[in-house]
């Protein structure tokens, strides 16, 4: 595709998204849908331009000692904690352990969450990306991501079939721990920033200096539309989109719609239990039975994929590709693990890790630890298999 054609197509996609959002915002009920679409589009642009992918960022650091991606994640978490304060402080002026902020992703903390996060981490390593990155990669033309999403759908089905047993085993009793409820807003914020700061210090200490790969300084056009955005900018933008989305519609998450589609479809085929016990009482990206065609989360994801497509076009990074059979199989298998993990853990790296830590939920931190563990082990195993092969 010629650069001019790519730019024209990019512009048309963005105009389409904007026109759709204006059309959606006609009535009171549509305003949340409209906002979700636009927020998803913003998120898609930032992910694509900043290459904000939990697994690639981790892999860059583990394998190349390149810290820039990990710093973007840490900045997103730290800035998110700070920006969330503006919303939380207004909604729950006096934080108490038993009064959780509305809709915040403060999930139940227990062994099931740890297992789900670990499985999710393993799945990202196997399939090559976390779920949110598969979505933005789809916009870049990586059609292999469809295999990962199909795998995730299968994983959700398995998750629904194991949910009732896991819920009655421990989840019913696992407390949703909200840090500001225990330590107050100041205490929880300081503690969160201290931990993130320490991780950043450790990461930067062992990082290699970035290679001087760019021979010339970028023009403003290149800096915005072509080159990868700096990690701090990307992190700040992710945090801002997260806090604004929480204020207006719901915390960020990318799996609720996928889960809803699978649950609704599975129900009609008799593959999903009629009742998923307690699922309505826990917090996170909960898969509700679909009641309307358009949902905020569905539009968020649609906006994400479309805008990432537009951003990739402008950057000259839209490269349609199909992986080979083994690549498809790995993506699918990793998708299954991620699907089970996201259903059981009530979200993914975005819904539980990002939105959870930003809101002061212990569940977010638990997900961070066990998901990283799973991903690091998965990456190591993958390297060994590739070397042996």
């Amino acid at each position: 595709m010629s650069p001019i054609a790519a730019r024209l197509l990019c512009l048309s996609v963005l105009v389409l998204v904007l026109a759709w959002s204006i059309w959606l915002a006609q009535d009171a009920g549509g305003r949340a849908l409209s906002f979700s679409l636009v927020a998803g589009a913003a998120f898609g642009i930032v992910l694509q331009r900043g290459r904000f992918c939990f697994l690639c960022n981790l892999r860059d650091f583990v394998e190349e000692r390149d810290a820039s991606g990990v710093i973007a994640v840490l900045v997103a978490l730290a800035a998110g904690i700070v920006l969330y304060q503006a919303v939380l402080g207004a909604w729950v002026p006096v934080p108490q352990p038993d009064r959780l902020p509305p809709n915040a992703h403060v999930g139940p903390v227990g062994p099931v969450l740890a297992a789900a996060a670990f499985t999710f981490g393993l799945g990202m390593a196997v399939s090559g990306s976390c779920l949110s990155a598969h979505l933005y990669r789809l916009g870049e033309g990586a059609f292999g991501s469809i295999a990962a999403l199909l795998g995730a759908a299968a994983g959700f089905l398995i998750g629904f079939s194991t949910w009732n047993r896991l819920y009655t085993l421990t989840v019913f009793d696992d407390p949703p721990i909200w840090l500001p409820g225990i330590a107050g807003y100041a205490g929880a914020t300081l503690a969160g920033l201290l931990v993130l700061g320490s991780i950043a210090w450790l990461v930067l200490r062992s990082a290699r200096p970035a290679p001087k790969s760019e021979p010339h300084a970028a023009s403003p056009y290149e800096a915005i539309f072509v080159r990868r955005w700096p990690p701090v900018v990307t992190g700040l933008l992710v945090a801002a989109i997260g806090a604004f989305a929480y204020l207006r519609v719901a915390p960020l998450g990318v799996t609720a719609e996928l889960g809803s589609l699978v649950r609704t479809g599975g129900l009609s085929l008799g593959l999903v239990p009629e009742t998923l016990v307690g699922l309505d009482t826990v917090r996170g990206c909960v898969s509700a039975v679909k009641a309307a065609l358009l949902s905020p989360n569905g539009l968020f994801v649609a906006g994400m994929v479309l805008a990432s497509f537009a951003a990739a076009l402008a950057a000259g990074r839209f490269r349609p590709s199909w992986p080979g059979l083994s690549g498809l199989a790995a993506r699918f298998a990793g998708g299954v693990l991620m699907g089970w993990g996201a259903m059981t853990g009530l979200g993914c790296t975005v819904g539980v890790l990002l939105s959870g830590i930003q809101a002061g939920a212990v569940s977010g931190w638990v997900f961070l630890v066990f998901c990283t563990l799973g991903a690091v082990l998965g990456l190591a195993a993958r390297r060994r298999i590739l070397r042996a092969g």
Partner: protein, 309 residues
């Protein structure tokens, strides 16, 4: 100093006048969005949102409105009952409600839970101070009127609530007596026709069901939605009167309203009691109590049999 005091007195008089003028134009039981907008800074008006969807109030409410949580503030969180006098009194004192406060309620879901709130206020003797925002949250949003996220902090009042007035509340035994034909009281079942006729046990998407389908013998079926307009506002008093008269409910005999859990029927209770002025009690036990009770008469037109599924 005198200047400032003068302005204060002037503004207090002005707001009192607005209040009086507004009341004169609105119906006694209802206020419209215009009236509420004019009275948002009136110190003698307290607005409460009673919404059930989580995050709705926090993401933006009518400026100055406080939140009444249906699950904890208006009911007893332990046993199935309305809020205890002590608990409700504390909530109202914290919100600065006094004997001369005009209380305006509104909410999501067609004002169902706001109407439940109005009924609870009535039980505790504050009914004459309560108004419902006609059309509720839906109409306010549809008109694009301002919303605010700030939570008001009013000075506490020293309000003392009266003991419960059971003349607006029907209990199980009262309803059974009516079903057995012992009293000349009209029962109004406001659920959907399918629930009334016994084709289904509960509306779609609702978990709590009764092990029997149908309705209380003698009840007439007037689904709640019949008395509201497209935009969620109540129809005119004359229209509402005619709709019920058609079903033989004309105010000449006392009325009891019920639904599934007593909240949608509060909406009808509000219309019959507060707009038409009939003698009406709300049966908050409703079908989830009656339809599970052993040995009481039931009229199941469809004949649907409960099979435990």
């Amino acid at each position: 100093m005198t200047g400032i005091r003068g302005i204060k007195i002037f503004s207090a008089v002005a707001s009192a006048m607005t209040l009086l003028a507004g009341q004169a134009s609105a119906s006694d039981a209802l206020v419209d969005a215009k009236w509420l907008q004019d009275n948002l800074s009136n110190p003698k008006v307290r607005v409460f949102e009673v919404s059930v969807d989580t995050g709705v109030y926090e993401r933006g409410h009518i400026p100055g409105a406080a939140h009444l949580d249906w699950h904890t503030d208006l009911v007893d969180p332990q046993k199935r009952d309305i809020a205890s006098r002590e608990a409700f009194e504390k909530v109202l004192r914290d919100a600065g409600v006094d004997k001369d406060t005009t209380i305006v309620l509104y909410g999501d879901n067609n004002n169902w839970f706001a109407a439940w709130g109005a009924w609870v206020f009535e039980v505790y003797g504050l009914g004459s101070q309560v108004r419902l925002l006609d059309g509720g949250r839906k109409l306010w949003e549809a008109q694009g009127l301002p919303l605010d996220t700030a939570v008001p902090d009013h000075a506490d009042s020293t309000l003392t609530l009266a003991e419960r007035d059971n003349s607006v509340r029907a209990r199980f035994v009262d309803v059974v007596a009516v079903a057995e034909g012992k009293h000349d009281i009209k029962l109004v079942d406001i659920r959907s026709a399918d629930e009334y006729e016994g084709k289904i046990f509960a509306p779609e998407g609702v978990k709590e069901l009764s092990v029997r389908a149908g309705h209380i013998p003698g009840a007439v079926n007037v689904p709640w939605g019949r008395i509201v307009n497209e935009d969620g506002t109540f129809k005119s008093a004359d229209e509402i009167r005619a709709i019920y008269a058609e079903k033989g409910v004309d105010g000449s005999t006392p009325v009891i309203t019920y639904c599934r859990i007593g909240e949608r029927s509060s909406h009808t209770w509000f219309a019959l009691k507060k707009i038409l002025g009939y003698d009406v009690r709300n049966y908050d036990g409703s079908w989830t109590e009656y339809g599970n009770a052993v040995g009481v008469p039931v009229n199941n037109i469809a004949g649907t049999i409960w099979t435990g599924k």
